[in-house]
């Protein structure tokens, strides 16, 4: 299936984002927090890639580095044929309209002193030559699209509820007709009954405008609903990248398996099934374990896992896993499922 589709819209190759640690009196560079440590994936036009993982796994950092809100340490981020990671400031600015972001906290990401109309039209002031009237018309159009009443155009963010504020954030992201939107936990701060409203809105807009999403979330059931393919991150690396149905039916990486098993289902009969309970906590990304980063908590850990770091490899058609259970070097354990990879890396 992957062969049939055209050029990916977004292609990330070996993205690294390290934050330096300075310590001591002289503030010497003593180490790095390896928030993202070698992540590769691609997103097809019109596709939604879900990015899941626990807090601190680097999923938000990936989203931000992708739009170069951070300066990536290494790696390439190719969006529509241009490498975002190395563009100079002016070219990058010209590129900004095509890639936008919806932030997690709708309270913190809206300027409390600007009216709704000013917030939504600001990107147009920056990036277009539209007249004030044209901008106002566009603001109304966007407000209709995200389901905000036009009468609210001159109100301030504090007058809106959380769900409405998130709609404002979405309207602002849409103002310049972007192709690619990074949604960083867009529903995490909302009540359950409001989450569905926002997710449906995102889906409608995708259908209508042909948008491509990177949907970052820790809510595995919502990601199952919205994403076409899902990448599971652990400690700065992708553990598994699979098509949605395949992943949820049978996760291959032991971490993906444990993560899915930890989800509480709203059904008393199913929620009390046997679950995989991981022991311990996520190690510090400043000092990740040698070998596989998951080896300290993995229920299927082998000797090799503490020595060699497994690379992300295609183990079944379209399914990429970074785990020694599926590499030939490890031998017997997962051997029956080993699939001959046609190429390395998730392209």
């Amino acid at each position: 299936m992957r062969d049939l589709v055209k050029e990916p819209l977004v292609q990330v190759e070996d993205l690294k984002m390290h934050f330096p640690i300075y310590s001591g009196v002289l503030r010497r560079h003593t180490g790095d927090v390896k928030a993202v440590d070698g992540v590769s994936f691609s997103i097809q036009p019109g596709e939604t890639l879900g990015l899941v993982g626990e807090s601190g796994c680097g999923k938000s950092t990936v989203g931000r580095a992708l739009l170069r809100l951070y300066e990536p340490t290494a790696g390439r981020v190719i969006i529509e044929g241009e490498d975002i990671a190395t563009l100079d400031a002016e070219t990058l600015r010209k590129k900004r309209p095509s890639m936008q972001m919806v932030f997690q906290d709708p309270q913190a990401s809206l300027n409390p002193r600007m009216t709704l109309s000013a917030i939504i039209s600001e990107p147009m002031v920056e990036h277009s030559t539209m007249s004030a009237d044209e901008r106002q018309a566009r603001v109304f159009e966007l407000m209709d699209a995200v389901g905000l009443n036009r009468r609210f155009a001159n109100r301030y963010p504090h007058e809106f509820s959380g769900g409405q504020r998130q709609r404002i954030g979405i309207a602002r992201a849409l103002a310049l007709n972007p192709k690619f939107i990074v949604c960083d936990e867009p529903i995490a701060a909302l009540d359950v009954s409001i989450q569905a409203q926002v997710v449906n809105l995102l889906e409608d807009l995708q259908d209508k405008l042909g948008l491509t999403y990177l949907f970052i979330s820790h809510d595995l059931s919502m990601v199952r609903h919205i994403a076409d393919r899902v990448a599971v991150m652990y400690l700065g690396r992708i553990a598994e990248l699979s098509p949605r149905d395949a992943l949820y039916a049978q996760p291959l990486h032991p971490y993906a398996e444990a993560l899915l098993s930890a989800v509480n289902e709203p059904d008393p009969n199913r929620a009390r099934r046997e679950r995989i309970i991981l022991t311990g906590d996520v190690p510090s990304p400043a000092n990740p374990p040698k070998g596989c980063t998951f080896c300290t908590r993995c229920p299927k850990v082998m000797d090799i896992c503490r020595q060699d770091r497994p690379e992300l490899a295609e183990v079944q058609p379209g399914r990429f896993v970074a785990c020694h259970l599926y590499t030939k070097a490890a031998g017997s354990t997962g051997a029956s499922e080993v699939y001959e990879p046609t190429q390395q890396g998730a392209n």
Binding site: V199, H225, L259, N264, P266, A271, I277, T279
Partner: protein
């Protein structure tokens, strides 16, 4: 598990009002429930539904003013907690009723060691000396699964991870063997794998210690996993209440029914489109004279605007003992 024994906690007709400059906010309206020894009561609702305020009212943790508990009784054994003196109430908190809050970082004091914070209630309520308290504190940390407990007594809260901090909070709440543990969104700030650890821990502790638990959350998945009975709150009132299996299998309130449908499933058939509950939760600025859910309800009719529905039993049991719902509509009437 729960038998016919007398409830350890019995709350009737609780009303809490906040006085603000913009007028009164009726946060809790005639909430009644009881809790038996050894059972877990799950309380679900959206933010602003009154679930936390209800529990804070019980044990006098709301700042007064602006809050005012206007009516109701809260019987713990033979005593009404709303009538006893602040000093007596202080004895009840910590000793008889333990509390675990949502955010373990802000509810632990950052300048005291974890050991001191666990020993404080032991010395305060149980009259232990320093040595006894320390021994008990080590026991408690081991009970909640913190390795190397004796050494960790000297650590400060920032040296623990989120999940570990929540374990410390649970240890403090359990310090004096309370009869009732009130847990207010204890796992909401935690990651799913850590949340699973804490849920297993609480289930195990309940089996071991036999305390009753009130578990407040907005997550129906957590409720399905841990609760024996469920109370669904909306707009400061109890919308529906019942045994967990019945409530999930046969929800009677339109709000509960809609809420269950808005959550995407992790297994089985994947829904093409999510069901939504249109509109916003109500602003509770007046004493309710109508059903608080009527503006968002797909089954609302004239009566819903004229009369706030009372809770009524739907399975033939006495009100509050089995499955009950506060709604004028019933699924049967719709089918007929």
């Amino acid at each position: 598990m729960p038998d016919g024994a007398a409830p350890v906690l019995d709350v009737r007709g609780l009303k809490t009002v906040f006085r603000t400059r913009g007028g009164e906010i009726h946060a809790v309206n005639s909430v009644s429930f009881h809790l038996k020894r050894g059972e877990v009561l799950g309380v679900v609702g959206e933010s602003g539904s009154g679930k936390s305020v209800t529990m804070m009212s019980l044990i006098g943790l709301l700042p007064t003013p602006p809050a005012e508990v206007r009516a109701g009784t809260v019987m713990l054994d033979e005593r009404d907690l709303l009538k006893i003196s602040p000093e007596e109430l202080r004895q009840v908190r910590g000793a008889r009723i333990g509390f675990v809050f949502q955010d373990p970082m802000t509810s632990l004091n950052p300048v005291f060691t974890v050991g001191m914070q666990i020993m404080e209630p032991l010395r305060e309520h149980m009259g232990m000396d320093k040595k006894q308290a320390e021994t008990r504190a080590v026991e408690l940390l081991e009970l909640v699964g913190i390795p190397d407990a004796r050494k960790r007594l000297k650590s400060y809260p920032h040296q623990f991870s989120g999940g570990m901090r929540q374990r410390v909070m649970i240890a403090i709440a359990l310090a004096c063997n309370p009869d009732v543990l009130i847990a207010d969104e204890p796992t909401t700030a935690l990651d799913v794998t850590i949340q699973a650890q804490i849920l297993e821990l609480v289930k195990e502790l309940r089996k071991k210690l036999g305390m009753a638990i009130i578990w407040i959350t907005h997550d129906l998945g957590v409720i399905a996993n841990i609760a024996d009975r469920v109370m669904v709150m909306y707009g400061g009132q109890v919308a529906e209440h019942g045994p967990v299996k019945e409530l999930f299998a046969d929800p009677r309130h339109p709000y509960t029914r809609a809420l269950l449908k808005t959550i995407p499933s992790i297994s089985g058939q994947r829904e093409a489109r999510l069901q939504v509950i249109e509109g916003q939760p109500p602003i509770l600025n007046a004493a309710p004279t109508a059903c608080p859910f009527r503006a968002r309800c797909t089954h609302s009719h004239a009566r819903c605007a004229a009369e706030n529905p009372l809770r009524r039993a739907v399975d033939g049991t006495a009100l509050g003992q089995g499955h009950d719902v506060a709604c004028h509509w019933s699924p049967e009437a719709a089918d007929a």
